[in-house]
Assembly symmetry: C2
Homo-oligomer: 527 residues x 2
């Protein structure tokens, strides 16, 4: 064994081949939380030019950051995770990445192949976990590492999804054949446009007897797509909505007014049911987020729904073609007035803080929104803001906002990143703050500190079967006071400078100074 | 629908029936992190006498606390988790619970049964996730709720394992038949003793030409079991070890000397290979924690291994019977001297802090150990401490120590709970501190702050295939400085009083004052 290993050292190891193949496909970041079974990959990172490792203190930070990175760049990052429990810890944000259609490639180390059948303590069913969020590939032969790695990356980028590559430690460690020289560079094929669908939708829109609604999602929320949608709206009177939780939406800078489809089904039904045509441009057919007795799952009337472009298709191009077919020429400006400057002495509410942040937003910001307290008011008000990009929680697994902001900051170091984060969900992955500090990521984290799972308070009051009054245990399960969390102290523990803001004036000053400084800053907004 | 619902309110709902059935089986605690699809269960908690809800800010806090609770009480607690992502977030500590043989019953809400096929954002494969850690049961009919709940609880307690009960929101909300009156109380059957195995082992031990080793695990680490093992050792010269990572080990108070089987396979092989007989008393056959090229997976010679009692059997009774058969009568006292009082001005090391904590340990403490820096030295030194109970990380999914300490404190409020916690693993589930504060749990948390993933540093240096020197990325991926975490600030953010200790004298004072005070306290030990 020793003789074999000493020859191995002169050659590329399986770990080298895996990482070089990834770098050869253009992958440049690895969000990592490794363990013993990933050590050959960890040491190979230093032998792989162009691949930067970023440590997360919890796997869900790594997977959420890879999702945020993919939404900004359109390309996959690697995650490096430790066995089944490491993958399990990252599944929640992989679920969100799957819903976002983000390419993410997980590299999961496994026990030495010859050690797996002994059921050592960390052994578990990695494949079953991986398959709940996407594709699963297992390396069973060092000769297959290059091709399987390339396949997993291309598959994730082509399909917009999660691929997991499981690599036993011995195959990382042993010699493996180099990837073939002169591999074609990564080239994600242009997504397809269904021209028949475009023509069909053009006829339906022209023929519609009543209101027309366009729901934009995926590529349908690019700037070009929204401009085209604005022209269609100007020509036809159609009303524009985005998906309720877009993976990435361009906003502001003169784009036409686009609000998010309402979250609660009563309100969504009120919007959608009167329509004669509901056109899906990169969005899925709208369904209720949760089922409620007496309310439908499908929010629009089935016979009014028309698919211009599905989530896997080129919605931007389809909208441009539809605008041409309809003959729309003059785009609508947003026409929205920015929200007024708030009274500096006024106490903060979710509404006032969200609107004020939209007013003060710097140009070209990336805004990661998680939670409704400030998130909804911000989105509504930000139509009048400078051009910016919004990321939201696509899959509902909370703890996504801070990691996504981290990933966006790694992807676009030249852009300011703002995380508008509710406190309850922020506590799931607060460890992301530490990585922001280590990487000097320019992220301003704004915590909406209302100290409750407010959405659950709303659900308690909606809950048709509940007693008139929620009991003490129910209230306690939806409250985050007793003790009140102190995010200022928490952030400092993670190495992030932080301050509190109780009034609009304090928030304005704190926000301005955080934007001027380098590295992450946290502001706890007392809501 | 409205008429049906209004009649439902007068009757028990499915949620009521589920919780009453659990309470009827003696379940008294529910570690909860609920969402919208669990609201009927949340409101029903206030209608279920005897069932206490404890909120965790992350699901892995809930599942780890349920594991700690089960190790102390021998009985299952419920967890209440939200859909697939909620279960996914709790899987790591369920993996540890499975390895510990702890009964844990997860109650996971699902979408309304009629809403599931619409693939709303939070929809995922809950069953696949659940099956990676144990049994999975799905409620498909309100009439089945009582029986299925009873089955899941009894199964978890009888088998020592994890059961997951998935309950769609509509079946929680609708009327369901009450559990039959006069259910037999929960009665976990006495585990079985294989008397043939006891007789066979007695013959082997008597006939052994060379050293005999007893490896104690499970019930084989009770006080009575260790006293019996001590008598066997006195009569035969056998050497006693515990599993490397016992779920629960009684320690101190005059028990015979029992060390943990070494973690690294070289050291374990040195212990085990010379033995003529290796007797397993509640322990599994020892295998390497990780595989290493050139080292075996099976640590003992196969022909020397004899099973006195498997992990599912009554190892305590088997050891008592074996001691009788062998004719051993006089138990060995520990004979170990307590470690000396350290110089108050001395800087702390992992070794000195671990030994000092063993010296200062109060009687009847529960000690939750995660991480080796102080954990190994503490365990070695604690043989001479007053009687106490040690819990360790059984499955290697890190982030187990603080939740387990929380669960132990809920299970045994009359006992002091000490968490000896390495910093890297503690960061996975630091949110447990908040629940300790809310529940005024008497836990003293001792953080071994060496600011590195030290075990990975060791692995890097062991890693046969690495370059002579680890590169900058490898070092950065195993380091927790830059920035240095400040656990004092972090703990205060979660509402837990905290202080720093850099010397043995500071540690002694801080530990003594934390033990005197009520509620949780954290001490950051500068190692």
């Amino acid at each position: 064994m020793t003789a074999e290993l000493s020859t191995v050292r002169a050659q590329a190891t399986g770990a080298d081949v895996l990482l070089r193949t990834a770098a050869g496909r253009g992958v440049s970041v690895c969000f990592a939380n490794p363990g013993t079974t990933e050590m050959p990959l960890v040491t190979a990172l230093d032998r792989t030019p162009g691949l930067r490792a970023v440590l997360g203190l919890h796997e869900n930070v790594c997977t959420g950051a890879a999702d945020g990175y993919a939404r900004i760049t359109g390309h996959a990052a690697l995650t490096l995770l430790h066995l089944g429990p490491g993958l399990a810890n990252g599944l929640a944000n992989l679920h969100n990445a799957r819903r976002a259609g983000s390419p993410v490639v997980n590299v999961v180390g496994d026990h030495m192949s010859w050690h797996r059948s002994f059921d050592a303590p960390l052994t578990s069913d990695i494949a079953a976990l991986a398959r709940t969020v996407g594709a699963h590939h297992e390396i069973c032969d060092p000769a297959a590492i290059a091709a399987t790695t390339r396949f997993a990356i291309d598959e994730a980028e082509r399909n917009g999804g999660v691929s997991t590559l499981v690599v036993p430690a011995d195959f990382q460690q042993r010699a493996a054949p180099e990837p073939p020289a002169g591999q074609p560079a990564r080239d994600v094929p242009r997504r397809r446009v269904d021209t028949d669908a475009v023509e069909r939708v053009a006829r339906e829109v022209r023929a519609a007897a009543g209101p027309v609604i366009l729901i934009l999602g995926g590529d349908g929320l690019s700037r070009a797509a929204q401009h085209a949608a604005g022209r269609i709206a100007a020509a036809t009177g159609a009303v524009l909505y985005s998906e309720t939780f877009p993976a990435r939406a361009e906003r502001g800078g003169g784009l036409p007014p686009v609000d998010r489809l309402p979250y609660f089904p009563e309100a969504a039904v009120q919007v959608l049911r009167p329509a004669s045509a509901v056109v899906l441009a990169g969005a899925r057919e709208p369904v209720a987020y949760f089922g409620y007795e007496g309310l439908p799952s499908r929010l629009a009337r089935a016979e009014t729904v028309h698919r211009l472009a599905g989530p896997g298709e080129d919605a931007e191009q389809a909208l441009v073609m539809l605008a041409e077919l309809i003959g729309a020429s003059e785009p609508h400006g947003s026409g929205e007035a920015p929200p007024p400057e708030p009274d500096p002495g006024a106490a903060l509410t979710g509404q006032s803080a969200g609107a004020a942040l939209a007013r003060w937003l710097p140009e070209h910001a990336v805004v990661s929104i998680e939670g409704g307290t400030c998130g909804y008011p911000f989105f509504t008000a930000s139509a009048a803001a400078p051009a910016h990009t919004v990321l939201t929680n696509t899959g509902g697994a909370i703890g996504q906002g801070l990691p996504a902001a981290l990933g966006a900051a790694i992807a676009a170091p030249e852009r300011p990143v703002i995380a508008i984060q509710s406190d309850g969900s922020g506590l799931y992955t607060a460890q992301a703050l530490w990585t922001m500090a280590r990487e000097s990521a320019d992220v301003v984290v704004l915590i909406a500190a209302n100290r409750a799972y407010n959405v659950l308070r709303t659900e308690l009051s909606r809950h048709a079967d509940a007693e008139a009054e929620a009991g003490p245990q129910a209230l306690r399960l939806t409250s985050l006071d007793d003790p009140a969390m102190d995010w200022v102290s928490l952030a400092r523990g993670f190495g992030v400078p932080a301050r509190n803001a109780a009034t609009a004036g304090e928030l304005r000053d704190a926000f301005a100074s955080a934007l001027r400084a380098r590295g992450p800053h946290l502001i706890q907004m007392e809501i």
